[in-house]
């Protein structure tokens, strides 16, 4: 008695192809709809205007300048710390209880919901350090959030450096740090850069942690220093999305187009770099 389910076997490849493209096609449909709704709203005025209670006058100036501030400050804070931590873990740490603990801990931090980081930032940076709801508080908070990503990217890139290069350097009498700065880092800079760009791209799209530390939704001025209050593009989008008037929804769509443009450009650069340096990094 022999029976084979030829139907299941025949249908699987086309079904799988359908599934593979389903998400992407749905996303494309969404994007096309967004473009239809919001593209016409984008003009020089929109990009250079302050937000306003009148939808037609409102613009994203403070939002994208705020995002720029956040992006730069977060990068300045998180990149050195993340890369240093990654170097420590790959080049310096030996198998010990503490170091295993650090490893497990980083894996855990990568899975903590972003809003929890916001609560941490609210209490520690906002209240304890008295930074309130300033750009600095927001940047510190986001830095902690993306730190695990940068650390993992750094570690993976350093792992790929051939031992022979390091051996040659040591054999010539170089110290550990000299070897790292002269050989390891230059070799792995591509992978690290890719990870950094991806994490910055993630940071720009983050909304929840910044809401938690108190970033405002309505900011009618451009931030001048890291100690100023601020808003960012995603929060502006969130704010406009929750308004009932159709004109604000059009604004939201337009702002989304700008945000997606930035996100895709950054991600595109990162993917290009990743392919160029031919490394298979997972973060």
């Amino acid at each position: 008695m022999i029976k084979r389910n030829k139907f299941k076997e025949k249908i699987f490849p086309p079904l799988a192809l359908f599934c593979t493209f389903l998400g992407v096609i749905l996303l494309l449909i969404f994007l096309v709809n967004i473009l239809i709704d919001g593209l016409s709203r984008i003009d020089a005025d929109f990009i250079t205007s302050l937000p306003s209670r009148k939808a037609e006058k409102a613009g994203i100036l403070t939002a994208w300048t705020g995002s720029l501030w956040i992006m730069i400050m977060t990068a300045l804070i998180s990149i050195p710390i993340g890369v240093c931590a990654g170097i420590y873990m790959e080049e310096y740490s030996k198998k010990s209880k503490i170091n295993t603990l650090i490893e497990i801990n980083i894996a855990n931090l990568a899975g903590v919901p972003s809003i929890i980081y916001g609560l941490l930032g609210l209490e520690v940076f906002g209240r304890l350090l008295g930074l309130g709801n300033t750009i600095l508080a927001g940047s510190f908070t986001l830095s902690l959030l993306i730190l695990p990503i940068i650390i993992v990217a750094t570690r993976e890139s350093i792992k790929a450096v051939p031992k022979s290069i390091k051996d040659a350097s040591y054999a010539l009498g170089a110290t550990k740090w000299e070897t790292i700065t002269n050989h390891v880092l230059p070799y792995s800079v591509g992978g690290i850069l890719t990870g950094v760009i991806l994490s910055i791209s993630r940071a720009i799209g983050e909304t929840a942690p910044l809401i938690a530390i108190g970033a405002l939704a309505y900011v009618p001025f451009i931030a001048q220093s890291p100690f100023d209050e601020f808003t960012v593009l995603p929060i502006q989008i969130f704010n406009w999305t929750t308004r009932p008037q159709h004109a604000f929804l059009v604004n939201a769509a337009a702002a989304i187009i700008v945000l997606l443009l930035i996100t895709f450009v950054l991600n595109g650069i990162a993917v290009y770099l990743r392919n160029k340096w031919k490394m298979n990094l997972r973060y």
């Binding site: 008695m1 022999i2 029976k3 084979r4």
Partner: protein, 251 residues
């Protein structure tokens, strides 16, 4: 006696480089045929022609006529899966599935569509007995196959192969990863199997070939140098290179 495999003018290419050149020979039924030769001579490639496992290697191309149990392999219409049910294979490194012992042996039957529980249980027991493994695992069929020793795992793989009762069994260096005691057990097993099956075995161990096989072919650099009864090959080789290989002057 009609040969169970007939090969005429077989060429096999990897990315247009010939791995086997103009091979013509036949495999007798219910006998053990050994394929010997130095590394890279093409014997494994030759073995894998018979169950079309070379299909998985990209760039591999076959020319010539190969008839396995009446089916012409170069014919694109043949159902590869049916062929493989008829021509079983045991691999160099034991590769049991990470499942129970029972599920390993039953797998081939389930794949073929058998669902009768009793039938499958009986076939599993028969196969394990034939593979000289029943005494060791009969009371623990639900245990993990991976908990067995290397030699036991290989016997399990043989049980798994014979459970679907193929006509031909191909063995690719089945004992090279095992210790001498496990090897001896499996050699004994292979000899017992030839009553029911036709066996083609690739081995780099000449003593093994002379111990267990009825016929031997010697391959060298993609050519079939000599094919004869094992006794003749080892006692009275016709070709100089055969003699050199057997006496250990190279390879």
């Amino acid at each position: 006696m009609k040969p169970v495999i007939e090969v005429s003018n077989l060429f096999v290419y990897y990315n247009n480089k010939p791995a086997l050149k103009d091979i013509t020979m036949s495999i007798r039924p219910n006998a053990i045929t050994a394929l010997i030769g130095p590394s890279g001579c093409g014997k494994s490639t030759f073995l894998r022609v018979f169950n079309r496992m070379n299909d998985f290697i990209s760039g591999c191309r076959m020319e010539g006529k190969v008839i396995v149990d009446g089916s012409n392999l170069s014919n694109n219409d043949i159902d590869v899966e049916t062929l493989r049910k008829n021509v079983g294979m045991v691999f160099q490194k034991p590769n049991p599935f990470p499942k129970s012992i029972f599920d390993n042996v039953a797998y081939g039957l389930k794949v073929q569509g058998f669902t009768d529980k009793k039938f499958i249980e009986e076939r599993v027991e028969t196969s394990l007995r034939q593979a000289y493994l029943w005494n060791e695992v009969g009371d623990n069929l639900n245990g993990s196959a991976l908990s067995l020793s290397g030699g036991q795992q290989q016997r399990l793989c043989i049980a798994r192969t014979i459970a679907v009762q193929p006509k031909i069994i191909l063995m690719d260096e089945p004992t090279s990863a095992l210790d001498p005691i496990a090897t001896a057990k499996i050699e004994e097993l292979i000899i017992s199997l030839k009553e029911q099956y036709s066996i083609v075995i690739v081995t780099h161990n000449m003593q093994q070939a002379s111990r267990i096989s009825d016929y031997t072919s010697f391959f060298y650099m993609g050519d079939l140098i000599e094919f004869n009864t094992t006794e003749n090959i080892f006692k009275n080789p016709q070709e100089k290179s055969t003699e050199n290989y057997i006496t250990g002057r190279f390879g």
